[in-house]
């Protein structure tokens, strides 16, 4: 299967800082030695390079439907494992070692809540709370604020006009869709029962 390089590399090179970055030791699949890697977590993808600053990543791990657990190792301290046991992927595990206790704990926490499905579950919950709170007689000023696209709020830009000029037509469409969706009481939620890992 061919992973589309432009999209994957493009994401790894986004200007925004990654969600977590640092040195980890990854157990090689061929030899059983641990190899030093520079790792960056971005969304549900863990990218890794041989060295920090290298242009091309060596690989990436998709953090979806996996378990991240502390793991005892005979040879390395501060080890943990990212494992999958789904049908088509068979059983597959990535053994990683951190440099110290704090780093290990931080990585395990970050990786175990990195999945798209986890974020979706959080988002569904917050959407529900937002509707519940909003329904309790918001003032006209709040209603207006509420109509703004999430993109505007998230970057804290002062006004929609500025954003429109900067990003063009795409923003207009997103904003209109956002407003329609909210006005119609429409589900932006995906509707599946989701499991917070």
């Amino acid at each position: 299967m061919k992973l589309h390089e432009t999209s994957v590399l493009g994401y790894s090179r986004m200007v925004a800082p990654p969600d977590r970055q640092g040195r980890l030791y990854k157990k090689s699949e061929r030899s059983s030695s641990y190899q030093r890697r520079w790792c960056e977590l971005r969304g549900n993808l863990l990218f890794y390079w041989e060295r920090q600053g290298d242009r091309e990543p060596l690989g990436l791990i998709l953090l979806e439907g996996c378990t991240v657990e502390l793991q005892e190792s005979a040879t390395e301290p501060f080890t943990f494992e990212i494992s999958y046991s789904h049908g088509s992927l068979g059983h597959r595990a990535y053994k990683m070692a951190a440099e110290d206790q704090a780093s290990m704990e931080g990585w395990v926490r970050a990786l175990s809540t990195a999945s798209f499905n986890y974020l979706r579950a959080l988002l569904t919950d917050l959407e529900g709370q937002y509707r519940a709170s909003g329904a309790l007689g918001a003032t006209p000023l709040e209603e207006r604020a509420v109509e703004r696209s999430p993109l505007v709020e998230a970057v804290g830009l002062p006004d929609f006009e500025g954003l429109h000029c900067q990003f063009g037509e795409e923003i207009m469409k997103l904003r209109a869709r956002w407003r329609e969706g909210r006005a119609g009481g429409d589900q932006t939620a995906q509707g599946d029962l989701i499991d917070l890992e």
Binding site: Y11, L119, L122, Y130, G134, A145, G156, R177
Partner: protein, 134 residues
């Protein structure tokens, strides 16, 4: 289950070739298959990209890093086309993250409470307002 789409891969230098493919959206990846096969031929990551409505029944995906290249998809109906556009635009981790930050901020303003506190993730950099750049 995903409806079958026909994605011609348009390249300015070559002829447009219409190829019938089965396309599946799974989290933030768009997998595509030859219709009879179980294994995907390839996958596109739907981050930092733009989904554009083109002519009737057609939409395209282009990536910010590669703005001149459009991956076009022709659907069976206009309705299906709109459904796909909707679904693909929301199928981005970054889109969801921005939405989450927005809701978090709004809920905090309206109720005075941080909704992420109960999950023990209030301090995480990835959910902070003002750290995300487009």
């Amino acid at each position: 289950t995903a409806p079958a789409l026909h994605p011609p891969l348009l390249n300015a230098l070559f002829f447009a070739v219409l190829k019938k493919r089965l396309v599946k959206l799974v989290v933030n990846f768009l997998f595509y298959f030859r219709t009879d096969e179980a294994e995907p031929i390839g996958a596109l990551l739907l981050e930092h990209c733009k989904i554009t409505k083109e002519e009737e029944n057609v939409f395209s995906i282009s990536f910010i890093e590669e703005p001149d290249r459009k991956y076009s998809f022709e659907c069976d109906t206009e309705e299906q086309c709109q459904e796909w556009i909707e679904a693909l635009r929301r199928a981005s981790y970054e889109f969801m993250r921005r939405s989450l930050i927005f809701y978090r901020n709004e809920i905090q303003k309206m109720t005075g409470k941080d909704p992420l506190e109960q999950y023990g993730i209030s301090e995480e950099a990835r959910f902070q307002l003002g750290t995300r750049k487009l």
